[in-house]
């Protein structure tokens, strides 16, 4: 199963404060361990929401809203994607995640499982997704 560990934003990350060399180094060490265990699929950081925007859909209507967005604790600052055998294995890795906050105080990560194509009822659209993914993963 594939798992996304979502790093929630903080006041610092939204203000554009960059991580210290110490935090960068801790993060790198942790990701090296993930890599050595053969579970790391991807990891990246996102720029503050002030550089982003939202599109709101209401039926066929679309409205564009420019960032920044207010609810800092619910925004995403980064993510790490891993491939593991069980939820327990995912939680073990999640517990070892370094405290991602820039000031070393409060932070939160959210652990969520990916849908796989087998989770969808079979059909033409799902088959086309499968063809698109052939060779993309693993």
């Amino acid at each position: 199963m594939r798992i996304m560990m979502i790093v929630k934003a903080t006041k610092d990350s939204e203000a554009g404060v960059m991580p210290s060399e110490k935090l960068m180094s801790e993060m790198q060490k942790y990701h090296e361990e993930l890599q050595k265990a053969g579970v790391l699929l991807d990891a990246s950081g996102l720029k503050p929401s002030s550089k982003g925007w939202r599109v709101k859909y209401s039926g066929a209507k679309r409205t564009v809203v420019d960032g920044p967005f207010a609810e800092a604790n619910e925004l995403i600052a980064g993510y790490t994607i891993i491939q593991v055998k069980s939820r327990e294995e995912a939680m073990e890795w999640a517990r070892r995640f370094p405290n991602p906050s820039i000031d070393g105080k409060e932070a939160e990560i959210e652990v969520r499982q990916f849908f796989e194509l087998e989770d969808f009822a079979p059909g033409e659209a799902v088959e086309r997704f499968r063809e698109m993914e052939t060779g993309k993963k693993k």
Binding site: M4, H31, D42, G52, A94, R95
Partner: protein, 143 residues
């Protein structure tokens, strides 16, 4: 430059209602266009937060909280990672994205940090390690 296109959750997605064939087909068509244009790096859906968890950090302390989580509209239901030449190109693609839910919904577009954004704190040693990691991941994906 890379962008993350975040599909926000809805009442349906959090309740585990799966997309119908019509929506799957519309998304499939959009995805095929992204792949053909060489824009799509990843695209995935996430199970409802009832199957997820959170880890809260306070200094060195960690607390695990099991889902589901209440603030539906702030949760993530899925995402794409796109590689484009400009913000304008990303905007053009977003305009063509089908409404990802049957209800009112929202997507959020965010730019991904690249190594050069980190400045001096990202030392040559750390950069080298990062490049090695990325190369290993890329090699693993190709296998």
């Amino acid at each position: 430059m890379r962008f993350m296109i975040i599909v926000k959750a809805s009442k349906d997605s959090e309740a585990g209602v799966m997309p119908d064939e019509k929506l799957l087909a519309a998304m499939g068509k959009f995805n095929e266009e992204l792949v053909k244009a060489g824009v799509m790096l990843a695209g995935e859906g996430l199970h409802p937060s009832s199957k997820g968890a959170r880890v809260r950090f306070s200094g060195a302390k960690r607390t695990v909280i099991d889902g589901p989580f209440a603030e539906t509209k702030e949760l993530v239901a899925g995402f794409w990672i796109w590689q484009v030449k400009s913000k304008e190109e990303a905007i053009e693609w977003v305009k063509r994205c089908p409404n990802p839910m049957r209800e009112d919904s929202e997507i959020e577009i965010r730019q991904v940090f690249e190594a050069e954004d980190f400045g001096a704190e990202f030392t040559p040693e750390l950069r080298e390690q990062e490049e090695r990691l990325r190369a290993q991941i890329a090699a693993k994906k190709k296998r």
